[in-house]
Amino acid sequence: MGSESNIKLLDENGMRLDGRTPEQLRPIKIETNLLERADGSAYIEWGGNKIMVAVYGPREAYPKHTQDIEKAVVKARYNMAAFSVDERKRPGPDRRSVEISKVISEALSSAIMVEQFPRAQIDVFIEVMQADAGTRIAGLTAASVAVASAGIPMRDMVVGCTAGKVEGKVVLDLSKEEDNFGQADLPIAVLSKSKKVVLIQMDGDLSMEEFEQASEMILKATDNIAEIQRNALTSRYSVENIGDGE
């Protein structure tokens, strides 16, 4: 966050490097059930992000000492492929992946009706095949779709977006350059209908007004993204996809 650079992230008209306006989202596409073995799965493209999410469960928690006698434990595992970033990343979890896995698990636990599954665990595997800033939010947004497609009961869907500050201006959905060279990074995820916050992190420098501006932008964006989640789930059951019994 906030490395030294000579890159101009905003031009004279306030346009961003990739041509977006401050409140514009990058293109998002979500597909479900591409994987055969998993109980539920979703694939998301968000800007240059390409992320596959697989859900297994609920199944009996293993090892036994991780069981919670009253509810299911949600275990998300965020992992980046070696070829997902500019410089090849050594396979395996690093400290950043462990932290991201934790906050994603906690966010999903707010939405999933875990009380219905004592002694169980729900595994959510988030594989980043190509990274382009905002991977944890994209992964979590797709994970919610994957959990729903697995037939696991939830109170609400989880949907998120990032915002940040670039050359003093608050912008929505940070790009890679804006994340690397900007002044603040704020990922937020909410329960879709109630808008209750289930994930919020921040690093950088934001005034109270800037924070309010950023969170307003994010909340507005979540309505659009929630529609994309809905279409991803329902499209395979649309009338056009049903044949004449063949």
Binding site: L35, A38, M52, F83, F125, E127, M129
Partner: protein
């Protein structure tokens, strides 16, 4: 689709598959030497130097190539480096666990690597930037995302496709980006022995039923570049020779179908 959670093949499935094989048939209508339909999508990860997503039946693997400059190995100062790694992602099967590579993923990686290396698909002599000091290191990372048998062939197809479409980022070293120079294309063909039959491109249930497994990798000239026997059963020498012939023939068919 049936979910045998712990991967144990039931007596019911065992006899169903065996009964069909007696008539030369397999569950999905394939002949004993037929491969499942493969879909290969190159440049799946545009940010990587090369990449390919391969779907072989229900098995799905993603190979990504990263090419970076680095020091050569001390004993080969005038050669670039090729290194292959395979990850069995926990998403691919209910009992796969996250963790460092186990013997299965290591074996797959080494067999795939051997096929590519010994066929001289990549001439590492052409990957030198500064002799003795700086060379190109070609990282091939293959992630298994969905498991329904025959990972070795799916991974070979993915690695070969990714390498074939890869670019060396030579502009980082003051040169011009250029395609990774590739030569002969290795094709691996894996078979399992079920009773007295050799069954190509086994799906998971056929692998579970098989007593022994053999992989033969060949190049266009029909030469054998790599072989690997797996599993605890055994083959007669005649069976091995038969496997080599099948691999060469089937390999040629696959090469024509996917790499012409």
């Amino acid at each position: 689709m049936p979910r045998d959670a712990l991967g144990v093949l039931s007596e019911i499935k065992r006899s169903f598959i065996t009964k069909q094989l007696k008539e030369g048939k397999r569950g999905d209508g394939r002949g004993l030497q037929d491969f499942r339909e493969a879909t290969i999508t190159t440049n799946y990860v545009p940010r990587a130097a090369g990449s390919a997503m391969v779907k072989l039946g229900r098995t799905r693997v993603l190979a990504g190539v990263k090419i970076e400059s680095g020091e050569p190995f001390p004993d080969t100062p005038n050669s670039g480096v090729l290194t292959t790694n395979v990850e069995l992602l926990p998403m691919a099967f209910p009992t796969f666990e996250a963790g460092p590579p186990n013997e299965t993923s290591i074996e797959i990686a080494r067999v795939v690597d051997r096929g590519i290396r010994e066929s001289k698909m990549i001439d590492t002599q052409k990957l030198v930037i500064e002799p003795g000091k700086k060379v190109w290191i070609v990282f091939v990372d293959i992630n298994i995302m969905d498991f329904d048998g025959n990972l070795i062939d799916a991974c070979t197809l993915a690695a070969v496709s990714a390498l074939r479409s890869a670019f060396i980022p030579a502009s980082r070293e003051g040169g011009k980006d250029m395609p990774l120079p590739v030569d002969q294309i290795p094709i691996s063909v894996t078979m399992v022995k079920i009773g007295d039959d050799l069954v190509c491109d086994p799906d998971l249930e056929e692998e579970q039923l098989g007593s022994a497994r053999i992989t033969v990798t060949t190049t266009e000239d029909g030469h054998i570049r790599a072989m690997q026997k797996g599993d605890t059963g055994s083959f007669t020498f005649d069976e091995i020779k038969k496997a080599i012939k099948i691999s060469s023939d089937t390999g040629a068919t696959l090469r024509k179908k996917y790499f012409s």
